[in-house]
């Protein structure tokens, strides 16, 4: 187990380093001068030269990379060019919106997917199964930003149940929670539709196993066998999918936060791009990638806890 964890930890660190290198190279080495990107092509040469100096662009590339990554490791984030404050300050305020939104959406997605997936598997090849598969096919095809607009039209404009956008903060739990309901539904629908299909497949695969037949022969009802044996085993592949989905949910927040004007990380990233604030873009991109890598690492670890055979095979 410890060797398995050590190997996974090594891959985790390696992926983090690779992701940081990729982001650094994408923003520093691709054609174009970052100082020019920030100031615009019409900027006076002296201003560009001053910014190059300020951003440390005159230093050799390995030195620039180390300055950036070394700074992040000790919690020293860059200073935003457009906001003139530390990126850390900008991020920490916005994480209070993005993380609850992603977690809320994940809970909705899993609840929706498990309910539909189990229903479809139990009613395999019947009308309910066909209907659920049809709904999930539709769910997969709908862009989340369109669904978000439809939800705004229905529940904010027509019914006045929720606000069309904005975030009142967490001073009171209910107003903050209410502001995240529609964005979370918009985010969860697509991921839930995908997960419902995987849930159905995983249950169908497990339901035919000999040990399930044995459990039924021992006198367990269909529901008991489903809850005690099928679901537990079907969870193994589903956890991997859920890990990947959390990454997609985080990425989805970039779009959905913009539809609902939520002051989260995704909106900050897009604002930074339009304001050409590459310092924020670089730190935020790494933060988002790191969150994805951490979740995938945790899924790997969880996977080994649920299925000890994996650890044994791996070693």
């Amino acid at each position: 187990m410890s060797l398995f964890l050590a190997k996974r930890l090594f891959t985790f660190v390696l992926t983090l380093v690779g992701a940081s290198l990729l982001i650094f190279l994408a923003l520093e080495v691709l054609p174009g001068d970052p100082a020019l990107v920030i100031l615009g092509v019409d900027a006076p040469e002296s201003a560009v030269a001053a910014l190059r100096l300020e951003l440390g662009l005159e230093k050799p590339l390995p030195q620039q990379y180390w300055d950036w990554v070394g700074g992040l490791m000790v919690g020293r984030f860059g200073t935003s060019y457009s906001y003139s404050v530390s990126v850390l300050d900008l991020i920490s305020a916005r994480l209070a919106v993005t993380i609850p939104l992603a977690v809320f959406a994940m809970i909705l997605s899993v609840a929706f997917a498990f309910a539909l997936g189990i229903l479809a598997a139990v009613q395999h090849n019947k009308g309910t199964d066909v209907a659920v598969m049809g709904i999930s096919q539709l769910g997969i095809s709908i862009p989340n930003f369109w669904l978000a607009l439809i939800l705004i039209m229905l529940f904010a404009v027509d019914l006045h149940w929720f606000s069309a956008g904005g975030f009142p903060g967490w001073a009171g739990f209910w107003p903050g929670f209410k502001a995240l309901v529609l964005p979370a539904i918009a985010l969860a629908t697509v991921q839930g539709a995908i997960l419902a299909r995987f849930t159905r497949s995983a249950i169908l695969d497990t339901i035919r196993e000999d040990y399930v037949r044995t459990a039924r022969a021992k006198g367990l009802t269909r529901t008991q066998a489903l809850l005690r044996h099928v679901l537990r085993n079907a969870m193994i592949p589903l956890i991997t999918i859920m890990g990947l989905q959390f990454a997609n949910l985080l990425a989805g927040t970039i779009i959905v936060e913009n539809v609902f004007s939520l002051p989260g990380i995704g909106r900050l990233l897009l604002q930074a791009i339009t304001q050409r604030d590459l310092v924020i873009v670089r730190d935020l991109a790494l933060l988002l990638a790191a969150m994805v890598i951490v979740v995938n690492f945790l899924v790997d670890v969880l996977y080994s806890v649920i299925d000890p055979r994996l650890t044994a095979r791996d070693i």
């Binding site: 992701a19 862009p143 930003f145 970039i254 873009v281």
Partner: protein, 282 residues
Amino acid sequence: MSTVRRSKIRSAFSHRSFLVGAVLVVAMFGIAGISLYWTPFDPTKLNIPERLAGPSSLHWLGTDQFGRDILSILMVGTQNSILVGVVAVAIGILFGVSLGLTAAAVKGWTEELIMRASDLLFAFPAILLAILLIAATGPGAINATIAIGIFSIPVFARLTRGAAKVIWVREFILAARAAGKGRFRITVGHILPNILSVIVVQATVQFALAILAEAALSYLGIGSQPPTPSWGRMLSDAQSYILLNPWLAVYPGAAIALAVLSLNLLGDGLRDIIDPRFVRER
């Protein structure tokens, strides 16, 4: 025509989701083709007196905030979505399939390097990678298409390597090697034709994802730029007029969903036809 091929064509025509998907995809390409030569109105012509008009016999889907005919913009927007999809998938196939074939044929460190690089790209959610590349290179349809293409490279590389490795251990490959054929000739002459169907199925899925990604990037204002008609930007523009004319937001979203749905149905159908075990088991 071989019996196997004839039976596959027969099963294709009796496969409901394949048929629906294929008809819709053909219709989508047809609309894009027609819009190259004809649209009900000039999609760029402003007509302020008729702005935000509802559906009528003249403007079937109404007009937008500048009085432009929505049906005409939607039709021309199909060209944009197809173009982005085709180019992005072509980038993915060209680089991804080549890398996957190389990894399977050469093995050793080359394979390890290609696969770890793919894993690294997978660590980035696709839309984040696209946004990052656009942040570095600037907004625009070309940069968005390249970014979307890049994130499909690891998908094709992984898929191709996996499928190719299965073929590499088959007996007819051993026979080809015994006959003196080199790795390159075997890859081009035997491996690629045998995994082509898997690549085609994945291409339909990636095509759908590319349309979604382009629409998302254009919605965010960093994809296709005006005056190029784009479904994603139509949605973004519609958001400002949601109280005055909610239908403005319905049409482009429905077009995106229909395009993605048709490609997904086509892909599902193709997968079932190519690998009938999938249908029986699922």
